[in-house]
């Protein structure tokens, strides 16, 4: 059973388009993180969301944490080829004893 479900798994869009990717769980998280990974590298943290209903903006990226702290979304406005990569959400559910678990990721390709 996957603790964190991400959708879509693959996404290929044209430069300039908007997109949203989702991270859902049946478990409650004290916080969720979003990472971006480029080929051949380790993931790099983009943002941590902590409070239910929280919205964080990072330039063209908007992150939202669900009110019940079970889900999160990442919205990218006017995507650019440099946004191409694997987007991963991660968290340690309550009672998980420090395990940091990742979703399967969304592989985003932005075509020029």
């Amino acid at each position: 059973t996957q603790l964190l479900e991400q959708s879509p798994q693959f996404l290929s869009i044209q430069e300039g388009e908007n997109l949203t990717v989702y991270c859902n769980s049946s478990s409650v998280f004290s916080s969720l993180q979003w990472y971006r990974q480029e080929p051949g590298e380790g993931p790099v943290l983009l943002v941590t969301v902590v409070t239910g209903g929280e919205v964080k903006k990072l330039k063209r990226l908007t992150f939202q944490f669900g009110d019940a702290r079970k889900d999160s979304s990442l919205h990218i406005t006017a995507a650019q080829p440099g946004d191409t990569g694997l987007y991963l959400c991660a968290g340690d559910a309550r009672g998980s004893n420090y395990k940091l678990t990742f979703g399967k990721g969304t592989l985003l390709t932005v075509n020029p």
């Binding site: 004290s30 380790g42 993931p43 420090y98 395990k99 592989l107």
Partner: protein, 116 residues
């Protein structure tokens, strides 16, 4: 830039050989993790540690073993490598802050292992 290092970066080895993948961090982090990942696919947690002399199995069963004798060092060992072990192995660390369960994980660049 994260101060977490993995060696080797690439390793091609024959079936049956014993290998150790090295991971070191200079940030004094208590929590360390090993993940296994195929290209473009999800990260599977195979081992984690929340301090010296603590090691736990992750969500994905693995024939590898780990040790945590020093805070900064978290090596992963395969006693007898097989082609099914071919994958990328990523090491990560994060700081434990009392009352805050989810702190940023810093990743090494990974070791790409090929067993022939």
């Amino acid at each position: 830039e994260a101060d977490i290092y993995q060696t080797p970066r690439y390793l091609v080895i024959g079936t049956g050989k014993k290998i150790t993948l090295e991971c070191s961090q200079t940030m004094g982090h208590d929590k360390m993790y090993w993940y296994q990942q195929d290209p473009g696919m999800e990260l599977h947690l195979i081992h984690y540690s929340y301090g010296v002399n603590s090691t736990e199995k992750g969500d994905l069963s693995s024939e590898s073993t780990v040790s945590r004798i020093r805070t900064e060092h978290f090596p992963l060992t395969l006693e007898s490598a097989r082609p099914s072990h071919t994958s990328q192995y990523l090491c990560a660390s994060s700081e434990y802050k009392g009352g805050q369960t989810n702190t940023e994980a810093f990743f090494g660049q990974g070791t790409r292992l090929t067993v022939v």
